[in-house]
């Protein structure tokens, strides 16, 4: 249970939290009893309900603790259902948050939110959605980060990530369902249209691929699939997840050529890859690692094509960003021990 503290002023309270190793470097909204009680009005769930153990320290997380962190992050009570949905996905062992909390690498859990409630609370999937300026995106993701640092204990001085990455401050978007020519990610993942769903995938920052020179599919995929297969990303050498977000104009160009979402997904899976001879030149190539691959290759066959997406279910294809925008965001993944998780949540 959280202890009560008293300081001479609100500024001293902010400084009090700057003295903690688990805050993120931005000012904290002091979680007064009144603000926490107001935050809890955002859900019908019992404040004492336990959501699970947050790795690697395995402290128990309750709904009340989530509300405390949401206040500190600057969130509004109506954001709380999305945060609770996101935490449920993050605590699913399939996502392997334990590994990411302790890895030397720097990936972060990206939350992609589908459904009407995301629109209602102003969660942005359009213009500038990966950048600053949107309270719902910023504070929902920041709440998750503060929980991972404080309750999980994964803050920098206690963990190993060599660089960290900017998306460890916050990493939460909606899908731009309104401007997508296709069904949303949640439907692709087996949920009903119109259901409120959060999907979490461990990935790197977005790499922005700009192509305003092509609109026919056979050329339009090239810079994206090349980026997907880049030797500096983990996916070239590991069977793991990846998120690709197409801007609406890019998605439209594929759709105008008669391609469904499944067609584009297959095109990216088929075209992104490297030949063994290329992979062997450096990078993460090691013979001992090949037994972790889903794709079985002969290491002596230099012409053998190794798909970057070794299992189609590991490519999460969404539409996000705004018009005009001839841009695709590629988010490389981490390693074979994680799988993206989708959960329906009660708004």
């Amino acid at each position: 249970m959280s202890e009560e503290q008293t300081t001479a002023s609100v500024f001293d309270a902010i400084e009090f939290f700057y003295g903690k190793p688990w805050t993120d470097g931005y000012p904290i909204v002091p979680p007064t009893r009144e603000l926490v009680a107001a935050m809890l009005e955002g859900t019908r769930r019992n404040p004492d309900e336990e959501l699970g153990l947050v790795p690697p320290n395995f402290e128990t997380l309750t709904v009340r603790m989530v509300a405390e962190h949401a206040v500190m992050a600057g969130a509004l009570p109506r954001y709380l259902p999305v945060i609770l949905g996101g935490m449920t996905a993050i605590l699913d062992e399939k996502l392997n948050m334990h590994g990411v909390q302790t890895t030397i690498h720097g990936v972060a859990p990206l939350m992609i939110v589908n459904g009407p409630y995301a629109r209602k609370i102003g969660l942005n999937g359009g213009r500038g959605c990966f950048g600053p300026g949107f309270r719902a995106n910023t504070t929902i993701g920041r709440t998750i980060r503060l929980i991972l640092y404080n309750v999980g204990g994964g803050y920098p001085s206690a963990s190993f990530s060599c660089f960290g990455q900017p998306s460890r401050y916050t990493y939460c978007i909606a899908e731009n369902e309104a401007e997508s020519p296709w069904e949303p990610l949640s439907v692709t993942r087996g949920f009903r249209a119109g259901q409120d769903v959060v999907t979490v995938v461990q990935c790197e920052n977005p790499h922005l691929v700009h192509d305003d020179a092509n609109d026919e599919p056979e050329r339009l995929h090239v810079s994206t699939t090349d980026c997907m297969a880049n030797l500096g990303g983990m996916n070239a050498y590991r069977a793991t997840d990846m998120v690709v977000a197409l801007a609406p104009d890019i998605a439209d160009n594929f759709a105008k050529a008669g391609m469904s979402k499944a067609d584009v997904h297959k095109l990216l899976c088929d075209k992104a890859g490297r030949r063994v001879g290329d992979l062997k030149r450096g990078g993460l190539w090691r013979l001992e690692r090949l037994n972790r691959w889903v794709t079985k290759v002969d290491p002596d066959d230099d012409d053998c094509f190794v798909p970057t997406i070794q299992e189609p279910s590991r490519l999460f294809l969404i539409v996000a960003g705004s018009r005009p925008g001839a841009t695709t965001a590629v988010m490389h993944g981490w390693n074979e021990t994680t799988r993206g998780v989708s959960v329906a949540y009660d708004a």
Partner: protein
Amino acid sequence: MSLSFLDPSVTTSKSVAMAPRPESLAGKTVGLFDNTKEQADIVLEALGEELMRSHGVREVITRRGIHYSKPAPLEIVEEMARKCDIVICALGG
């Protein structure tokens, strides 16, 4: 104006004491935990042989995890705690 608020800090006071170090390895059972990182098995095999040859270790028990990005399985942790005087966890590289 003073302000009262909650402090949700849960991890800052947590620390685990180092296990006591043995004076000698003679007659001891040593556990070697391979976290599956590449070549950890080679390093540990050589280490185990050397511990028995030069330091009088009675027995070496080697166990392997699932993946270096996942925690050691609880049953292996408990088994090693039960059987071993000392456990060395090793990374490959």
